[in-house]
Amino acid sequence: MQTHKAKRVEITIEAIMQSRLTDALTKAGVTGYTILPVFGGSGRSGQWSRSGQVSRASGMVCVVCMIRPDRLDGLLDAAFEVVERHIGVVSVVDCEVLRAERF
């Protein structure tokens, strides 16, 4: 099966920042992303869990984005602008994708 080199970017960010992030990604030319729910976590700002929560103040989501390697820098710049002052994690992995025409 023919596969194509791509980058898998995973951005774990506060739920309240989700739409700001995805708007920024869209502006940076990202054509697709997938949002995974996050159940809980821990970091320098302490531990948290969504169970029983009503407020959107605590809680994160995970935005996963497959892109062509040459688009990576634009994406990271856009993402960084949004997460800069916020808690969260951005990671990048090399991957191969099927149906490259989609990216």
Binding site: I16, M17, S49, G52, V54, S55, R56, S58, R85
Partner: protein, 326 residues
């Protein structure tokens, strides 16, 4: 005094308070008892819808009171004003930074709808009437406090950290405001007929849902105390108990000036005394991400909310009764 104590005692032994206490204890003991997020949100939608709808129906029944507009205005003014007072107190009595103090202050200008709901059920069981539009006042008080807090910060830092219009829209149209106002309007339009159709959904089971919701809030508050409790120095802790009393005094003044009923005055006190733990924390995470959420969440949900629920409400009701001679 006697009345306060007996009201407080009855209140402390009501199912809703005991459920909250159960939740706190279970969380402190690290029980795995927990509500799914979806269930908690579902209950909160139910409560907001029911309280808004009933308020609207009551307005439809009693006609639009001339005081409605004035009360809304008073609520908005209070919501703008209280953060300034809270901020001054915090800077005076605690070592919190400007940023953390402003973030905390925003919570105390805004309101906690569950505290409001708990107060209405205390009023009901004491047979004290109140204006149906107080639920609209509650909605009106949610957001202005956020603007005050951001103004406090921008003034201090002069860094032009502005309220972006997107955030403004988010705050004004946040789910709980829309649901509360929307169901208030629907209740107002459909009136007693509409209520008759859904009464056995929004009236009869209300207290029971409130019990489970408070159990869940107890679990969340207890978890917060376990994790974030260490953050709290004596200063902020004392603030968390004093500020609601201070706020309630402003609410009392406003209620009396407006000439509200005993119940209306009591609810105005409760709104002023209560601190947000849903809308404001979310806005603070967006606008002031550097402020420490453990501080404002623990204060609002772990200190002030339980204080109001147990001692505050009976106190405010007693004072309102006394002041209005009701």
């Amino acid at each position: 005094m006697d009345q306060i104590l007996s009201l407080a005692a009855t209140n402390l032994l009501s199912p809703i308070i005991l459920c909250f206490a159960l939740g706190v204890l279970a969380a402190l003991a690290r029980s795995d008892l927990s509500f799914p997020e979806a269930v908690a949100k579902g209950m909160s939608i139910y409560l907001l819808f029911a309280i808004g709808f009933k308020g609207g129906v009551s307005v439809a029944d009693h006609g639009i009171d001339a005081r409605l507009a004035l009360s809304l205005l008073a609520g908005i003014v209070l919501s703008f004003l209280l953060p300034l007072i809270a901020f001054a107190l915090l800077r005076g009595m605690t070592g919190l930074s400007r940023l953390d103090a402003a973030a905390v202050a925003a919570h105390y200008g805004s309101i906690s709808i569950v505290t409001f709901v708990a107060a209405t059920s205390v009023l009901e069981s004491s047979g004290i009437a109140s204006e149906g539009y107080m639920v609209a006042v509650a909605a009106a008080m949610e957001a202005p406090a956020i603007l005050s807090a951001l103004w406090l910060i921008s003034r201090g830092q002069g860094d032009g950290r502005r309220m972006d219009p997107e955030l403004m829209r988010e705050i004004m149209l946040n789910g709980s405001i829309v649901l509360l106002v929307g169901s208030f309007v629907i209740g107002g339009i459909t009136g007693a007929d509409g209520l008759a159709r859904i009464e056995s959904f929004i009236v009869s089971p209300f207290q029971g849902v409130l019990c489970l919701f408070l159990l869940d809030m107890g679990l969340v508050a207890g978890r917060g105390l376990r994790e974030g409790g260490a953050v709290l120095r004596p200063g902020p802790l004392v603030f968390g108990v004093i500020m609601p009393v201070v706020g309630s005094a402003f609410g009392l003044a406003a209620g009396l000036l407006l000439g509200l009923s005993t119940g209306g005055v009591a609810l105005m006190m409760v709104l002023s005394a209560s601190a947000s733990y849903i809308a404001v924390p979310a806005a603070m995470r967006v606008a002031l991400p550097e402020a420490n959420p453990s501080i404002y969440l623990t204060l609002s949900l772990g200190v002030t909310f339980p204080f109001n629920l147990t001692l505050g409400i009976p106190l405010y009701v007693a004072v309102a009764s006394f002041a209005t001679g009701g």
